[in-house]
Subunit: 336 residues, 2 copies
């Protein structure tokens, strides 16, 4: 490995994270499920397909506009399952608490878990709590793991993008990451920057009702849209071209990104999904998405090309084209 | 709540943990699955019964005689599923790493995960890694969550103990907790104190092959045998009587407990199970257990009585009887 010690970058969801998986985890734990490297695994249980996923949440601060670490954890796991085309059903909740955490804060976090669980209709069925002494954790870390059933008709995968497919995003990008960063840095903006954290299972149902033939679903969390599309381009052996002028970004997020020197394509989202699907379904799906609470600013933002394989290209507003690479370095730690 | 802040005791698996569940988690997240309060939930998936469980591991030190935090995490989740009578199948792995953790240490932990996964035949199918900055976690925390299928013929629950049943333990008690404590405190003993951390799925299969009519299976982890039996007595509305002289304890563990002033009945085990079953099956089950690698020192240690309901009684070596209560205070933090 590049270094002999774990760096923040290894948890960024970018190149260093991928290196850790390739060099440490896969060689030791190799099996066909893990090798898929999707955000959730697809296993067979009682004769049907079940999606399984896990995520740990270490977001700092634990309360932010639009949610808290508890609602974020539930949304994240609901969304990972939804991105496999699964109907999320049951979650588990693992808490690591720092000694001295205020009960009121724990209760508020758990209210976030409860609200998110109710809205998404996904039940928390088992839990575990550990406490470590002061200074050995930071307030609260949450793991959510979950399962969902994949209907027989559905076959979505990051490896399924095909030349000619179109790329849709369910709304404005970079809202979550910018909300967390500005909270953390104590930056004040005139209009509040609100996380997009939301459960996408109902939106995904709506999409799959219109077109069961969706090829790829992906929530662009850590590493943002750029990293998610690079993974898809690599796994599918295609190129993906984005139209810069079509990518929806709210004005305050755009200003904040400019001020902070961040490219919104690399900033985390927690309530958005990328949909890659055959051209003929793009219009009806987009129309249905726009009617949904969590898809009102959905937009057609790109297309899938034959090559150069594994590349993401950005057609800029002024007509040029540049390569959009996977995130390297400059991690935004503890964004989720 | 007794205090307005989280204390180490809230993660001990004893009374304060139970209070947290009753007063914060259940009121907010109430559902029939969670209300069972077993170590794993039983849900219906694709028409069959599936056990789901989650556990976070924060053990300190992360390496100890007999295992490491990685093997412990896999064994713990395999065992929680096994205690529902489930055949454990798939695990997920959520890592929280502290910036600066040595790669060699991560690799050794993951080798522990791999060995435990291979021995138990349970596959790690999905994973997630987060990194927090130095001083915001302690080396490595691991969450393992898992699923397993419960055969139709099996119906074990902490609520199923019946008067007349006998109580079997699969081997010597307190080995894990004492191993961790002596490592942590830097205490030297002539013979090394080795954790009993082990996967119990094969032993449970052996037991259920001999007697599918087992009433209760339980691994006495945090809080030890005393806390596990109190939970069972409470859930089943019965009394459980233990015979002090029959409880197997190794000589070095007994010495260490005396030196440290600990009651071995309250010390954690990570490779033992309690089996409560109708009297007529006790002998054949015990015989089969003794032939198994992880049951060679199995022993019949008690019986279930009608009352006093919810109580655990200890018949002492000298013939007296005393009440064995749930663990209160004096937590042993970060034992798993």
């Amino acid at each position: 490995m590049k270094s002999e010690r774990i760096a923040l970058d290894h948890g960024s969801g970018g190149e260093a994270s991928a290196e850790l998986v390739e060099r440490v985890f896969l060689p030791l734990l190799d099996n066909p499920y893990l090798r898929e490297l999707d955000d959730s695994a697809v296993v067979s249980l009682n004769g049907g397909r079940v999606a399984m996923t896990t995520d740990s949440y270490v977001v700092d601060p634990i309360f932010f506009p639009g949610g808290n670490i508890g609602s974020l954890a539930v949304h994240g796991t609901v969304n990972d399952l939804s991105m496999q085309g699964a109907r999320p059903l049951y979650l588990t909740l693992g808490l690591i608490l720092e000694e001295g955490l205020a009960f009121q804060d724990l209760r508020k976090v758990m209210e976030g878990v409860a609200r998110a669980s109710q809205e998404s209709g996904v039940k928390v069925v088992a839990g575990d709590t550990k406490v470590v002494s002061r200074g050995h954790a930071d307030k609260i870390f949450i793991n959510t793991s979950g399962v969902g059933v994949i209907p027989d008709s559905i076959n979505v995968s990051a490896a399924n993008a095909r030349p000619g497919d179109l790329v849709v995003i369910s709304g404005t990008i970079a809202d979550h990451g910018i909300s967390i960063l500005t909270q953390r840095e104590g930056l004040g903006f005139q209009s509040p920057l609100i996380s997009d954290s939301a459960p996408l299972n109902d939106l995904v149902s709506t999409i799959l009702d219109v077109s069961p033939d969706v090829h790829v679903l992906r929530d662009p969390t850590r590493g943002g849209v750029a990293t998610a599309l690079n993974e898809i381009a690599g796994r599918s052996g295609v190129a993906i071209q984005l139209y810069e002028g079509e990518v929806p970004i709210s004005a305050p997020v755009r200003s904040a990104c400019e001020m902070l020197g961040l490219d919104p394509l690399y900033v985390a989202n927690e309530g958005k999904c990328l949909v890659i699907l055959p051209k003929e379904y793009a219009r009806p799906v987009l129309k249905a998405m726009k009617r949904h609470r969590y898809g009102s600013s959905a937009a057609l933002i790109g297309e899938v090309l034959e090559g150069p394989r594994g590349r993401v290209l950005l057609r800029t507003r002024v007509g040029g084209t540049r390569i959009v690479s996977t995130m390297t370095g400059a991690p935004l730690p503890r964004i989720c």
